[in-house]
């Protein structure tokens, strides 16, 4: 037998063992080998690092003291050190806590007993899973939080996989859709809840924006679609479908939706209110343009019928002659009413109501709009039979109010049952008040128009019928003086002279009255006017009077206005002549004319002020001086008819402006004129 060379063999074994030791030292998992008493026979570098001791100090040490472990509730094991349990024959695999000072590590421990050379040994491996455990715990908490958020969210949330199948559904979504959560999981969501459009037509999945988010990787928000419930009904939704992208790959989508029924109803209600307000505005504007009260009424009837879709509208008027405050029917109906309502219309046109009775009477007494949802059920609706025959079911009416009174009632009829609509009635109440104001204005305009016509007639009479005898008095007076003047004694000549003087004054009075009347009737169209130039012309005309009185006139730059040049000339001539006439006997007369732009709550104005340093007046007469023949002084002291300022006011008011006087006795007077800075086309105020 050849001699065995142990040297090389030992070296080979040492080399193998050395590599094995290096390999075991390089792995992250801690490995420890103990004998049957629990003394460490070998451990690797990961174990040394775990217990934070030098390798040689660990060898021979009792493992249970060096590495006290506490079971963390996961895996097999439970009470006691895993080494002990393994020594007793168990195979341990579990999660343990290893406390070392303030540091607590989580270890995944595996321990088992092996027999070596008929000796029991225990091998334990330990993997530090502290960070994994912490991460897992953080994820678990996060998922729990997410779950709580999803569970408590009022909005529906569901997830889709890349094929559009449901991966999760929160309780709110399931509740809104009428399905159980588990019924929806795994289902192709489009086919289950999004298969049809609101009108019932099919909704192809390839057109679905939710799926488009998955296909294209772009979030989609939709506000006007419907989802379908399990029971086959649908509800309005707004939703956002957001793609889930992980590492550049689309993994599906998350859809968040809410029931938008209430929002849409609110939007519809807002739009309806907006249309009603617009109706009110249009009726008011158009009524202002109407030429007569009847035209106002007809226009309102037509607009309200068109807006509401109600086919029939009519006006009752209060009878001012009736002591019992009767409501009388009119022939004012909406235009284009169907002939099938003719009998009802005929019936209405002969049906009067006392205040408080019937629909028009009830509206008049309460001064509030009223809706009769079912005409057949109202015992006080006198025209019920006629309405039934015409197929009319509901009615509403509102009062047209002028001041504290009701001047008319507008009533409307529908063939479909109408439910009470507070906002409609509120707006109709406003329409009634606006129409009342327009009607009041129209009536005032009519009265003013009549008054102007009367004045025009007077002017005509004055110019022809009164002036003719006056001229004769003057002419024959002159002839009498020529022919028989010498024959008259002093008393006779005095009488004659006073007669002709009186006739002359009367001629001036008639001329002034004519001028006053013609402010409205003979006015010329308004034009853009340079007031500076116009007033300089006036001052030129008054040159003699200015020179005689020695007056100083100061004219500041004035704004341009739209006005009748002739009447503006008249206005400023009267005001400047007034200032010269009522000059202070002890002072050089001074007249200052200035202008500026001002604005109030209604519009911008050109304000022109004519101020003097004359005798002034007591402010209590600030209005009286504008009255026709209004005089503050005797004719002897200051000649004139008292018509000058009345004409001034009429001219200013014809231009839509105002004039006011401010007096300070013994110090002077100030006249402030305001003319509209911009005029509505074609607008001119009738005076």
């Amino acid at each position: 037998m050849p001699e065995i060379e142990y040297g090389p063999l030992l070296r080979q074994l040492r080399s193998t063992l050395g590599k094995l030791e290096v390999a075991l030292g390089a792995i992250d998992e801690a490995i420890v080998w103990t004998d049957h008493q629990g003394l460490i026979q070998w451990c690797n570098g990961a174990f040394d690092r775990l217990v934070q001791r030098p390798h040689f100090r660990n060898l021979g040490e009792p493992l249970q003291q060096l590495l006290p472990l506490e079971h963390a509730g996961a895996g097999s094991g439970g009470g006691g050190h895993p080494w002990k349990q393994a020594a007793e024959g168990g195979v341990i695999r579990g999660l343990y806590r290893f406390s070392q000072g303030e540091s607590i590590r989580a270890l995944e421990v595996s321990a088992s007993r092996v027999e070596v050379d008929r000796q029991a040994s225990i091998v334990m491996t330990m993997r530090d899973v502290t960070e994994e455990t912490q991460t897992r715990e953080r994820i678990r908490r996060l998922m729990r939080q997410n779950q709580l958020i999803l569970d408590s969210a009022g909005e529906g949330v569901y997830g889709l996989d890349p094929e559009g199948r449901t991966t999760f559904v929160n309780p709110a979504a399931a509740r809104m859709l009428g399905w159980a959560v588990e019924e929806l999981i795994g289902q192709p969501q489009h086919q289950v809840i999004h298969h049809s459009r609101a009108d019932g037509s099919a909704y192809p999945a390839e057109q679905c924006p939710i799926y488009a988010a998955i296909r294209e990787g772009v979030a989609r928000t939709v506000r006007d679609e419907v989802f379908w419930r399990k029971d086959g009904s649908c509800f309005a939704v707004e939703y956002t479908s957001t793609p889930i992208v992980e590492e550049g790959e689309i993994q599906g989508a998350v859809v968040v939706f809410r029931d938008s029924t209430e929002r849409r109803l609110a939007e519809a209600d807002t739009a309806r209110r907006s249309r009603l307000l617009m109706l009110l505005q249009r009726i008011t504007e158009a009524a202002n343009e109407a030429e007569s009260v009847e035209q106002v009424m007809r226009f309102a009837l037509d607009r309200i019928c068109a807006h509401t879709g109600w086919p029939l509208g009519h006006v009752y008027l209060t009878d001012p002659e009736s002591s019992s405050r009767q409501l009388v029917p009119t022939r004012i109906w909406n235009s284009g009413a169907d002939s099938r309502y003719d009998d009802f219309r005929s019936l209405t046109e002969v049906t009067e109501f006392k205040v408080g009775r019937g629909l028009p009477g009830r509206v008049t007494s309460t001064r509030q709009p009223y809706l009769l949802a079912d005409l057949s059920q109202d015992p006080d609706f006198a025209r019920a039979d006629g309405a039934r025959r015409a197929g009319l079911v509901s009615a509403f009416a509102f009062p047209v109010t002028v001041g504290s009174g009701v001047t008319a009632v507008m009533e409307f009829f529908s063939t479909a049952r109408a439910e009470p609509d507070v906002f409609l009635l509120e707006i109709m109440g406003q329409v009634g008040r606006q129409l009342g104001e327009v009607i009041q204005r129209k009536r005032a305009e009519t009265r003013l128009h009549q008054s102007n016509r009367d004045l025009e007639v007077f002017a005509s009479v004055a110019s022809h019928d009164l002036q003719e005898p006056l001229r004769k008095i003057t002419a024959f007076g002159d002839r009498l003086e020529e022919v028989s003047g010498e024959a008259l004694d002093d008393r006779g000549r005095l009488y004659l002279s006073r007669m002709t003087a009186a006739a002359g004054r009367m001629q001036v009075l008639i001329d002034d009255l004519l001028q006053y009347a013609r402010v409205s009737s003979r006015g010329r169209p308004l034009e853009r006017l340079d007031l500076d130039q116009l007033i300089r012309q006036v001052l030129s005309d008054l040159e003699t009077g200015i020179e005689e009185s020695g007056a100083r006139v100061e004219l500041e730059p004035l704004p341009r206005v739209e006005a009748d040049p002739s009447q503006m000339g008249q206005l400023f001539q009267n005001l400047i002549a007034n200032a010269l006439k009522f000059r202070h006997p002890e002072r050089t007369p001074e007249v200052r004319i200035s202008g500026r732009m001002v604005s109030d709550s209604t519009r911008p104005w050109c304000e022109i002020t004519v101020a003097d340093n004359g005798i002034g007046f007591d402010q209590q007469y600030g209005e009286r001086i504008f009255e026709v023949f209004g005089r503050l002084h005797g004719r002897t002291a200051y000649p004139g008819t008292g018509m000058g300022l009345a004409i001034c006011r009429k001219i200013v008011e014809r231009h839509g402006g105002t004039i006011a006087a401010h007096g300070d006795p013994g110090r002077g007077a100030r006249f402030r004129i305001r003319l509209p800075a911009r005029r509505d086309p074609g607008k001119e105020v009738e005076q």
């Binding site: 050395g18 003394l39 026979q41 070998w42």
Partner: protein, 124 residues
């Protein structure tokens, strides 16, 4: 300290092994302390004086050094258990050095038994 210096030491037990872990030298102090006479122990494995439960660790560590030549225990005092010829186990302070002699690693160690007070901790 060198192997030569260790060989001159006579008050502390000294043992020298070759790269195979075979004892090549012990001094008189070793013989006195461990109960082995030179002829009986020279040429035998160092594991004779290592408790049985540490022999695997010793073999692995020894082999690792030869493979990597990266020391972990050398040239600073360490406390390790040893066993004498009678099987008595005791804690001793070891100071181990390594030197290459003729291209082969040789290891020398002093083994100084510690009493209870000198030990840095029971069993350590």
């Amino acid at each position: 300290m060198t192997l030569e210096q260790m060989k001159r030491e006579d008050s502390i037990p000294v043992v020298i092994v070759n790269s195979l872990g075979i004892i090549t030298y012990v001094n008189g102090a070793f013989e006195d302390a461990m109960g082995w006479e030179s002829p009986a122990i020279l040429g035998r494995s160092l594991t004779l004086i290592i408790p049985e439960y540490l022999r695997d660790a010793h073999n692995l560590g020894f082999s690792r050094f030869l493979t990597t030549e990266q020391p972990t225990l050398l040239e600073h005092p360490i406390q390790l258990k040893a066993v004498d010829r009678n099987g008595r186990e005791f804690v001793a302070e070891h100071f181990i050095i390594a030197e290459k002699v003729d291209g082969e690693w040789c290891f020398g160690a002093t083994i100084k038994e510690l009493d209870g007070e000198e030990r840095s901790g029971a069993g350590n």
